[in-house]
């Protein structure tokens, strides 16, 4: 067992990390809460006094609020759907015996390492541009009218870009989970004459359910916060203004700090609801 001496040493070694993270959490959070109860316009009069819950009411009753919630849900839901379904299929495929498995894995994972501003701009210009993009050439080759992706199908475009970035993450985690599956169980099922679909539905999918849950939770937390992909493509126009982007615009673009801070508090609450579920799973794993 640890001695008294090593206990106090341990406390000292932990102190910097704990103090820093505590400060990082409490100071800005307190300030956001403080501003959220004020009418605060740095460029137009500064601090104009306490307004109670006025900002909270105004944030949700503004005409931009519900569309932004809807946009957020569509993007998060769409990306989750695409990455999970394709991720499961892809991870099963990558788990099969084949030549050059390592290289294929690298090809599949690569998009995750591309910085968000690069992937957004490459997709926007070189694929989705209605005149010079590859999609436009492809559409024309089939005699179709090129699509104005980022204005006419803006949400779909963002979903495609973000899914491309996150598919590697889902695939990699699901692949890791699949590889821990006992292959004897699958062989036994195969010998007993279970068709591939039954093996998938009754053995592989249940085995993956935990990993899928984790992918959903982690991705949701990151997807709720996507910013750069919208910043460099549409700038929030054409119905792509998410909750995160709306708050950013309120705070930095229109410098209505009180209103933006109230929105920030909503965002924090929303993220925490997801986080609680994730933390529960992670915590359980810690005990094991």
């Amino acid at each position: 067992m640890a001695t008294q001496h090593s206990r106090s040493a341990a406390r000292i070694m932990m102190a910097p990390a704990v103090v820093l993270l505590l400060g990082w959490m409490l100071v800005p959070l307190t300030m956001t809460l403080y501003f959220s109860f004020k009418k605060y316009l740095p460029l137009r009069g500064g601090d104009l006094g306490w307004v109670g819950f006025d900002n909270y009411v105004r944030f949700v009753s503004s005409s931009a609020f519900w569309p932004s919630v809807q946009t957020t849900l569509v993007i998060v839901g769409g990306v989750l759907l695409i990455t999970i379904i394709l991720g499961v299929l892809l991870s099963i495929l990558l788990d099969q015996p084949m030549w050059g498995q390592g290289i294929v894995r690298i090809l599949v994972i690569a998009p995750f390492f591309v910085m968000p501003t690069v992937s957004a701009l490459v997709w926007k210009n070189m694929f989705m541009d209605p005149v010079n993009g590859l999609f436009a050439h492809l559409w024309e080759a089939f005699g179709a009218q090129p699509v104005e992706w980022l204005s006419d199908a803006s949400l779909l475009s963002i979903i495609i870009i973000v899914s491309w970035q996150w598919l590697p993450f889902a695939t990699l985690i699901l692949l890791t989970a699949i590889q821990s599956l006992d292959s004897e169980q699958l062989e036994a099922a195969e010998m007993d004459g279970a068709p591939p679909l039954a093996r998938f539905g009754f053995i592989i999918l249940p085995h993956l359910s935990r990993a899928i849950t984790i992918v959903i939770l982690i991705q949701t937390i990151f997807l709720l916060a996507i910013f750069a992909e919208i910043f460099v493509t549409t700038g929030g126009a054409f119905g792509t203004r998410t909750l995160t982007y709306l708050i950013f615009q309120r705070v930095l673009e229109s410098q209505n700090v009180g209103l933006g801070s109230a929105g920030g508090v909503y965002a924090i609450i929303l993220a925490n609801i997801v986080a609680i579920f994730l933390m529960r799973i992670v915590g359980k794993n810690l005990d094991a």
Partner: protein, 276 residues
């Protein structure tokens, strides 16, 4: 155990996997190829794939015109600095939680993780304001600090899961033999912890390199790293595909290479040990 498969099945697997792999990788490949074209070839109709006059001109233009080295240097300092700082602070914390656990260790770990879940936009203005007041806006020091703080929970968690795998019996044996705390850390733990620390370093450099919320919002001209440099191409003038591609290729190449080494750590680092 590898299952016996027919060569035919293996061939089909291989073809399918390669086709999908190349499809997913294609945007990156296309960017790299386009970076070697002239601007006219970059938008030629029909598009040219491999048979064009390869040129390095775009790389020269990007470096010349936009002071690329400054952005690269900012990225290196900010990503490297924040990660090193995080490791220096994280190693002692993770070490003590892994080897001298107390009743509260789990709560502390969970609390640290919860700070990672805080949405950045929720604290954007306070950080922005503090940065102005402290003179940190558009400085590398400020950005290094912020990126260190947002990655510190991941650093501590990764290190913790690695340290946990070091068998405690070895430590006890050393203690019985009269090793002091200093000797214990220096001669026993450090050699065993190095691989874990290296993996943590690698993954967090990647995360910091690609971070694109704080780097876009807290920098202007001086401290802007590559994420912000690339973002400046969102309002282009004239023909720019080849130059965008060259700039993008330079921005992602170092991280793609690092990333290939850190596939395994990615799972551990981003699922907080929940998937192994």
């Amino acid at each position: 155990m590898a299952r016996a498969v027919t060569p035919r099945r293996k061939t089909i697997n291989t073809l399918a996997a390669w086709a999908i792999g190349l499809l997913i990788f294609f945007p990156i490949l296309w960017t790299i190829l386009t970076s070697f074209k002239t601007e006219a070839q970059a938008i030629s109709d029909p598009p040219v794939f491999l048979f064009f006059d390869w040129t390095l001109e775009n790389y020269a233009v990007v470096q010349e015109r936009s002071d690329y080295m400054r952005f690269l240097w900012n990225s290196v300092i900010i990503a490297g600095g924040s990660t090193l700082l995080g490791i220096v602070i994280g190693v002692p914390a993770a070490w003590s939680m892994a080897f001298v656990p107390s009743k509260r260790t789990k709560d502390i770990l969970m609390w640290m993780l919860s700070t990672k879940m805080l949405p950045a936009v929720g604290v954007l203005y306070p950080i922005y304001l503090l940065f102005i007041k402290l003179g940190l806006l558009d400085t590398r020091v400020g950005l290094t600090l912020v990126l260190m703080l947002i990655n510190l929970p991941i650093i501590i968690w990764m290190l913790y899961t690695y340290f946990k795998e070091i068998p405690g019996e070895i430590l006890e044996a050393a203690r019985m033999d009269g090793a002091t705390l200093k000797e214990e850390i220096l001669y026993i733990l450090t050699p065993m912890a190095v691989p874990g620390i290296a993996s943590t370093l690698l993954l967090n450099i990647i995360l910091a390199w690609n971070e694109a919320f704080w780097t876009l919002n807290l920098t202007a001209a001086k401290a802007a790293p590559l994420t912000a440099f690339i973002a400046s191409y969102s309002s282009p003038e004239g023909l720019f595909y080849a130059k965008l591609s060259a700039a993008s290729t330079m921005a992602i190449a170092p991280i793609l290479i690092l990333g290939w080494f850190s596939q395994k750590q990615l799972v551990r680092g981003l699922t907080f040990g929940a998937v192994k």
